[in-house]
Subunit: 298 residues, 2 copies
């Protein structure tokens, strides 16, 4: 690969820039960023990329383009680049849900141009290029999406690209991807937002100062509920079919817990509490989380 073009240089975009430069994977890294405040930060951080003023400058000079913007930006950018994008250019993205956004891409991207989708399972509650890091993807899963139309040469290249980013890769259909992440990521985020919202509602009515006593559990949820609102609105809207199913399952189970609690059904509740405990052990064995109590926090 000669040059790469990163569109959107926030937390993950800037992490790609850092890693690509460190591993010398491209000759030049072009960056497009629409936020003035992010541009100032990128310059101050001296990130190893060339900031371009127009999308055209980046697109025509690069072999690979990676969209690192919120998914709601895709359409606008596609319509802008259609007039100069070349069929051989590899286009990818890091979007967290795939079915709906793939429809947008299919509908608006110039015929004959390929977009091969990817989703690195990493991130943080903080946003912006100042929080990016060159090891952001190391040891993390990156999901590559394959459907009937996928260009297999591009897929192969993308696979090797993410391995160079340090990721473990796996190939999935968009449907399987959106189902899995509706449960492991999208629902947890929604639940965290919803819990914090409920605490705020309760605080307003009761006039108690709750947040002061958040160390007993609420604080954990508040971290996830501090995630970027534009990115998460896009994910919730994009994957609404599977998230709706996940919400329904969640409410069904919560109502069953409520019955157990009100009936003091010892056997039923203990069965649930003991069963859920096993997942933590599995997660730690799979190295998906730190093995220290309380995330090693205190």
């Amino acid at each position: 690969m000669k040059n790469v073009f990163i569109i959107g240089c926030g937390l993950l975009g800037s992490s790609l820039v850092r890693r690509i430069s460190k591993k010398k994977i491209a000759k030049k890294i072009f960056i497009f960023e629409k936020s003035k405040s992010n541009i100032t930060k990128i310059k101050k951080l001296r990130l190893p990329g060339i900031i371009v003023k127009s999308l055209e400058d980046g697109v025509v000079n690069s072999d690979m383009i990676i969209f690192c913007t919120p998914m709601s930006e895709y359409k606008k950018i596609i319509l802008k680049i259609n007039s100069f994008i070349l069929p051989n250019t590899l286009i990818s993205d890091i979007g967290s849900s795939k079915i709906e956004s793939s429809k947008i891409i299919k509908k608006f991207l110039k015929k004959g141009v390929h977009w091969t989708r990817s989703h690195p399972i990493t991130g943080s509650e903080v946003s912006g290029p100042e929080y990016g890091k060159d090891n952001m993807f190391v040891g993390k899963w990156c999901i590559l999406i394959k459907d009937k139309k996928t260009n297999s040469r591009h897929l192969k290249f993308l696979n090797s690209f993410w391995k160079k980013m340090g990721s473990k890769t796996v190939i999935m259909s968009p449907e399987k991807h959106d189902k899995i992440f509706s449960i492991t990521s999208h629902l947890p985020h929604l639940i965290a937002y919803n819990l914090v919202k409920s605490a705020q509602d309760f605080e307003k009515v009761s006039k108690f100062n709750l947040i002061k006593y958040s160390a007993g559990g609420l604080r954990d949820f508040s971290r996830i509920a501090a995630s970027n609102e534009i990115m998460w609105r896009d994910i919730f809207f994009d994957n609404k079919v599977h998230i709706t199913k996940a919400i329904d399952l969640f409410i069904k189970n919560l109502k069953s817990f409520k019955v157990d609690i009100n009936k003091k059904n010892n056997k039923s509740i203990l069965k649930k509490l003991i069963q859920t405990k096993k997942v933590r052990t599995k997660i730690i064995k799979l190295k998906q989380d730190i093995d220290k109590p309380d995330f090693g926090r205190d």
Copy 2:
């Protein structure tokens, strides 16, 4: 204070033993522990306390007794100690909910004996004396419960005791306590258990290997959902009135999120997501959580 008696020497009981000894607050520390495996651990750890074989040995020789067992054990132990407990002995506990368990205490504890309740806001997903530490309570809130019957001399002593443990203390009615912690602690735990349960149900039906991809959010909930099942069953049963109200509020809000998502109501969802974000900043300002992204985990 001459001697103190810790009944139940798990995570928090053993932390009290360590701290009391370190700060030389009592001459002797007696320990009662019914689990043989915990007794073996306590001996191996050389915890600075004397293990007693009968409750009587600890009770008659101590000025202060602290119950650190699950709340469901209180009744049985009260019935055993009633025949030799003296009116001047200060009794306390570290139970996480107060209204229902206070009724048990009131009903079964010998008349003329006082039990002054406390609740340190600390803990972990791990259990057992090997995880205790002498700074477990340092900088953490400890709630002291006051109602009409509270012995003010005991309350004053208990207040100074928890300050020596390193805690910041605050006095509350049992009602206020149970309301606040139904939202900041009990509901978050229930929600975490419920989310993991839903993921397990989904995994069973879909046959997808979900846990592998838990780094996107689920892993955080799995930590809380790994907490001690006996302790949490007791809390859910004990505070069922307020937890039920909290569940209802939570489901109401979740349904409203579902409507926003399905109608793609941009304005309404963004308002919620932006509003909840503010809580994280508040929690960090109040030093209720670490201020590093991702709990400083990676």
